[in-house]
Symmetry: C2
């Protein structure tokens, strides 16, 4: 039997359990050129919510389809010469036990790392942090780097990579516990609890020399504050807008655009991790070494059971995750 | 006698004649290392208004000071070995007949061009258009370039340089007359009257293949519209925010930031012309040749008499200029 979560209907305001619908059907059979993959771990990402809102860098989700999502799995049957039974592969086949799909839509993973590391820290999440910070943000030793959603999967790696680059690192997160984790466990120089109010003042106090690079996962009030605190020729890495994904009515745009962008000669730049896919091997090698050496802690936040996938995604927008959230299937 | 316009008080809402105060005093005497310069032409720029609002890339104007502004003048007395009587110089000595100031704060102009060309098309205005478009915007032949305030001093040159680069060029301007001027006289491919309403739809119709480079002089509704129409990896050159300079209460920021910046991998980048001062000679040479060859029309919009300076600046925000506005003193 193939268990699936379907995307049932477009949410109005926050996603809820009725955004998804459980479905059970037969295990599909691979056709020529296809393989049958069995899901091992599903990646839960804020982008999953953004896909419900309309066309992004991919088409909008359509009600009735299997809920989309990045996953790690094992090839259990192959009608393609490119992949063999037992291969570990990654791809976007969504929230289900099994999928039959063309081998070319899958990427074979050859590293010796655990599946838990392959679902994020050594894949999309880690690469997003790596290329976004180093290539788009261009931090230099001594720079002050601010990262929002710093206790999240991407943010927690961005901050640690920035520390390895020789930067002073400030993170924003929701709640005192997450903030304490950032400074005590991950080596952030300072953490700001955005739920405590006065976020601009708190960031300003934590960044007395201003901000050189802001890695923006959230948009919203932290972006507003960062714009006013950026140094001349500062860089804002536009990675996500998670404060605006799960809302009924989006907030107005940031007041500092374009006025402060002109005055301070700022650069705001968006990117998608696949823009750097030709350099993936280099980045994975460095990330794997940092994790193996303990220089980066790759925190995993795993839910057991496909049936818990909606709960795991809803929780992301309640901010109850720490590090990379995934579902073990 | 030295006639001056002082900056009298910070405007609330729109600037008016009471923003300025007429003053007459003695002609100053240059000290050692200084020269006495007699103003010939004053440059009127939207930035003059922005300087009243607070610290920008320079300190805010202080009530009681001579109104600041870029100017062209002639050295009429010199106590510096660097400049001699009769030299034509440019600098920021403001709205007055005469100023005594250190020679190092002036730039000697050696080109054979007329003073009218030196006040803008071959100086700050032209260089802003040149470096902003070519260096920050990075247009390629075949790209679609949108420029706002296209009938203004900078915008009219941006559009013409973009045409010389092989781009399709669309300008926004206020009123049918200015729009007709852009397409008939300056060679724009299309012009959109932002005062006629439906600006997003009109730009969309003029740019069926989307926008690759948006040169933003205005912020406001044209920036909002442009963000939704940008192509993947489009560049937005943040040059000015003139729609927000002369208002009581600034409008909310652009809704497409940061969401569309991420999804389309846009780059928004601010700059100030002095960032490129080491390459000024190269740019001036090319601009002078284009103007001499008739490939760029440098429209001048000159008011006669220092007494008319406030009227000339106020008019800029009513959009009654075409090309470079200056005051002949």
């Amino acid at each position: 039997m193939n268990r699936q979560w379907l995307y049932a209907k477009q949410p109005v305001g926050k996603i809820g359990k009725d955004t998804f619908q459980w479905h059970e059907g037969p295990i599909p059979a691979p056709r020529d050129g296809e393989v049958l993959v069995q899901t091992r771990l599903l990646s839960l990402d804020p982008a999953n919510r953004a896909w419900m809102m309309g066309k992004t860098y991919r088409d909008a989700l359509e009600p009735g389809q299997v809920m989309s999502g990045f996953a790690i799995g094992e090839v259990v049957d192959s009608k393609s010469p490119e992949l063999a039974k037992g291969d570990i592969v990654e791809g976007d086949w969504g929230w289900q036990d099994y999928a039959a799909l063309p081998a070319r839509r899958l990427t074979k993973r050859t590293t010796n790392a655990t599946l838990e590391l392959l679902i994020g820290p050594l894949s999309v999440t880690g690469l997003t942090a790596y290329f976004g910070l180093l290539e788009v943000g261009q931090p230099k030793p001594g720079d002050t780097v601010l990262v929002s959603a710093a206790a999240g999967a991407v943010g927690s790696m961005v901050g640690q990579i920035a520390k390895l680059t020789g930067c002073r690192v400030i993170g924003t997160a929701g709640g005192a516990d997450k903030c304490a984790w950032l400074t005590r466990e991950l080596g952030f120089d300072a953490a700001v609890d955005y739920k405590a109010g006065g976020v601009r003042r708190a960031i300003s106090q934590a960044a007395p020399d201003g901000i050189d690079v802001y890695f923006d996962n959230t948009g919203g009030p932290v972006l507003d504050a960062a714009l006013t605190l950026m140094n001349l020729r500062g860089r804002i890495v536009c990675c996500g807008n998670v404060s605006q994904y799960d809302v009924d009515k989006p907030a107005p745009g940031p007041m500092g655009v374009p006025g402060l962008v002109v005055v301070k000669r700022l650069r705001l730049e968006g990117f998608i991790v696949t823009d750097f896919s030709d350099r993936r091997a280099e980045a994975e090698t460095r990330l794997a070494r940092w994790i193996a050496d303990g220089q980066i802690k790759a925190e995993l936040d795993i839910f057991d059971g496909l049936e818990r996938a909606p709960e795991a995604l809803i929780g992301l927008f309640e901010g109850n995750n720490r590090g990379k959230r995934a579902v073990r299937v």
